[in-house]
């Protein structure tokens, strides 16, 4: 049974605290992998001063839950923690945190990557960048869409 923690929030998160949660009462895992996504100052050739994250409230958690469920069926994971922020963010702010823990590193690495790839394609969040020349919605990238192909080809375990 994988323990899942999913949060969609305006508040920032503390990676050290999240890591501590993953280690708490945990003697069976040999590996924790986490990813954190940040707001960077340049995107698709434009200077960015901030980011507004819109979402579809009743669908967001359901979608993340579904992605976490798929990961837990595919790899032997003890924990999955996903945090995604919404609202107004500034350059270098944290946007997203995804962590998985498992007995072995292969499962932890692969599942963390899998969750991020699916989150990028299926979770209903939209970024609007604050740019010097005016606010603009971020265009979806084809590379994010094709990223899913690698998970559909292999039956990874």
């Amino acid at each position: 049974m994988t323990q899942m923690h999913i949060a969609v929030q305006t508040d920032d998160f503390d990676v050290a605290k999240e890591y501590a949660h993953l280690r708490e009462n945990n003697s069976q895992d040999g590996a924790i992998v986490f990813f954190s996504g940040l707001v960077r100052e340049m995107n698709q050739g434009h200077g960015v001063t901030g980011l507004f994250l819109e979402h579809y409230p009743s669908m967001t958690e359901k979608s993340l839950q579904n992605i976490a469920q798929q990961a837990s069926e595919r790899w032997p994971l003890t924990h999955i923690r996903i945090i995604h922020r919404i609202g107004q963010l500034q350059v270098s702010d944290q946007i997203v945190f995804v962590a998985t823990s498992s007995a072995h590193r292969e499962s932890a690495f692969a599942s963390c990557h899998f969750i991020m790839d699916y989150l990028k394609n299926q979770a209903p969040f939209w970024k609007k960048e604050t740019r010097e020349e005016g606010d603009e919605w971020v265009a979806a990238l084809e590379k994010d869409e094709t990223a899913l192909e690698k998970w559909q080809e292999k039956g990874e375990k």
């Binding site: 819109e54 009743s58 669908m59 991020m116 209903p124 939209w126 265009a139 869409e145």
Partner: protein
């Protein structure tokens, strides 16, 4: 009656976040789009962009998915979170 929601850039282009309408259930996603365009002709170009995604009852679906009375439908651009 069904509720139809719009998000992000699509919401801004339509200048509308939500409508309610009666459908002849069950109808598929493409037919619903057509019905909305009939009622709002100036939405056609935005709603019929082939990249517009659809969700029914908070789950992403394809154009042939059947919609029933009371469902919550949403249309939105490709997602860009993470």
């Amino acid at each position: 009656m069904i509720k139809v929601l719009f998000f992000a850039q699509l919401k801004e282009l339509l200048q509308c976040s939500q409508i309610e309408l009666s459908i002849n259930a069950p109808c598929d996603v493409d037919s619903l789009k057509q019905q909305i365009v009939n009622e709002h002709p100036n939405w056609q170009a935005h709603l019929n962009q082939n990249k517009v995604l659809a969700a029914v009852n908070q789950t992403m679906v394809d154009a042939t998915h059947l919609i029933n009375d009371g469902d919550e439908v949403a249309f939105f651009p490709p997602v860009t979170g993470g």
